[in-house]
Symmetry: C2
């Protein structure tokens, strides 16, 4: 009996929209019927495999999965709500509102609503990707992080997704929108070199891809200018004001202290401000400081901070448009995009005194 | 013929859920059938009036509306999506993320999703309340503003709403959640008086209820302490850093300048910082400053700002719980709530030097 059931048709499980062609951008449209025929099974059996349901023998399941993979079959969307879902792990950061704003503006243009959810890793109850899947959004934008399991779950339900400003390495082909972090690090360091600085420190952050890229930009600018890479001028700290302050106190208490500090983010730069004040150093007279991100608060710092502007709202617009295009099955030329950063020169940088 | 149609039953327009009892919290549950009987008309006619459709004579409509009003009939919700909608006019302010965070946390606990929309008054295309109504949320939270027309539209569709931190006068009975602005203004001014200040200026804002309440708190604390209300120490400015700076330049250039300034919001206080720097006055040695709101950036100002903390996340949680309770038809004791502010003393206030 179980053997028989495994190949038995089931109206409930055969969703007619699955019979239609895929988006996927491939030259030939692959239907579920075509996969069933190729595998020598019924359409409902393929449907079971697609929906992760039981009642299919292991061998049959493997054969069908191989064909789904080979033909790049994607379940066409159905019963989608007219919403995009923007997922945050923690709604803490000062730039969350910039991201929401960009997503909301692009969504407004596309006449879809914006669901904002916080997975709240450290809270109970937490939200999970199951809830997201259950809300049937047109697409999902996930800020900084999307685990392999989460990607698999979305893929299984044909919900397209884009990772926004990923802080972890993603396999090739996973859609993302980031910023040109390497070029930003280069621009910040070049600016200090052009002002005449030679002893330029960097306070970098954890080994996230974006920090590594910012640091590589710093190194690259030094090398390009023929300046030595002094290992003790590159220090590592968490991306907080407190850690930036501690790292700066260490750097600036040395007898051969640097004349300029570039930091991996703005919060660290505000920590450098604090350390400088405590040590009686004036910015920019005694020390030049360049941050990264351009969060609103740094324009009001004393002195206003020179920093690399990360175009968060533009990035959010691009990510939303990309996710919606993937949802429509448009032929998207490139699923990974970095939006250009730009150096915002304010009053925290000046030529060195010596 | 038209006369006949006006009272004709229409299955399409008779929604069965309207037959059910109301929420509303009244002692007796009023049904649409009861209203129809009282008015001496058919149920579909009452339904037409409730849904704002034509085909009812003016006299009949007036009679039905009077009964709807008298019995406090509310259409029970139906086909609601499992979402709350949080409406902003402009997603600009630094505290938008705090509000979103509070709403999201309360929503998570109640297992509903959060839709964030920006009406974008100055943008094209703008969103409107029609879209919101079309998305059939459980309830609507509107930040700062909800016009009479918008309230009417939501009411017509029985979508409960709460105005978050209203910046305009609302008729009695319109649900809102705000902060204790009057008490906040009192606490700020009392703190300065306790430090020994006697010439305390206030930079206030436009005639929004929350500004008026903050200003009344300032005046009340002066009167309570037996200090004179000097009209030239109360100046008006927009709630921006630039306007705060201009107002402070004026106040601080006077020969009998104040020794302390209380501002209607934090941005104005940062403007006072700027003006003080420009005039060579040190904070808090030469001038004490107290802001209002406690946006994240002011803790990092130099010196960190003493300010009235507005518990935005708590307010957002309260507003969400209230809106959801109204949506469930719970018996809500009070639909207008002010959540307590608290004074956060940092380093911008000290006793006066003279």
């Amino acid at each position: 009996m179980p053997d028989n059931r495994s190949e038995a048709p089931s109206t409930e499980e055969t969703e007619e929209s699955e019979e239609q062609s895929t988006g996927g951008g491939g030259p030939a449209a692959v239907t579920i019927a075509y996969i069933a025929e190729s595998a020598g099974v019924s359409v409902p059996t393929v449907s079971k495999v697609l929906n992760g349901r039981s009642g299919v023998s292991d061998a049959t399941r493997a054969r069908i999965e191989e064909l789904i993979q080979r033909y790049g079959y994607r379940k066409p969307p159905k019963n989608r709500s007219n919403l995009v879902e923007l997922v945050f792990r923690e709604l803490e950061s000062m730039w969350a509102v910039e991201i929401i704003r960009g997503v909301e503006r692009a969504a407004r243009r596309n006449k879809v609503g914006v669901l904002v959810s916080e997975f709240g890793l450290h809270d109970t109850p937490a939200r999970t990707i199951d809830e997201t899947v259950g809300r049937r959004p047109q697409c999902v934008l996930s800020v900084a992080w999307l685990s392999e399991e989460e990607r698999d779950q979305l893929q299984a339900k044909s919900i397209p997704f884009v990772v926004f400003d990923p802080n972890h390495e993603l396999p090739e082909g996973v859609p993302f929108v980031g910023a040109t972090n390497f070029r930003g690090g280069q621009a910040a360091t070049r600016h200090l070199i052009e002002l005449g600085h030679r002893r330029i420190a960097m306070i970098t952050g954890p080994d996230h891809p974006f920090c590594l890229a910012r640091t590589a930009g710093y190194s690259s600018a030094l090398i390009e200018a023929g300046l030595p890479m002094e290992p003790d001028l590159l220090v590592k700290a968490q991306l907080t004001r407190e850690e930036g302050r501690a790292a700066a106190r260490d750097l600036l208490s040395r007898p051969d202290r640097p004349t300029a500090v570039f930091t991996a983010n703005d919060m660290q730069a505000l920590g450098v401000y604090q350390a400088a004040r405590e040590l009686g150093l004036r910015i920019p007279d005694d020390l030049s400081v360049v941050g990264f991100d351009d969060v609103p608060a740094v324009a009001w710092a004393d002195p206003p901070l020179t920093t690399v502007h990360q175009p968060l709202a533009d990035m959010a617009v691009a990510a939303t448009e990309l996710a919606l295009a993937l949802g429509r099955g448009d032929d998207v030329p490139q699923v990974g995009v970095e939006i250009a950063t730009s150096l915002t020169i304010r009053e925290s940088t000046a030529p060195p005194r010596d």
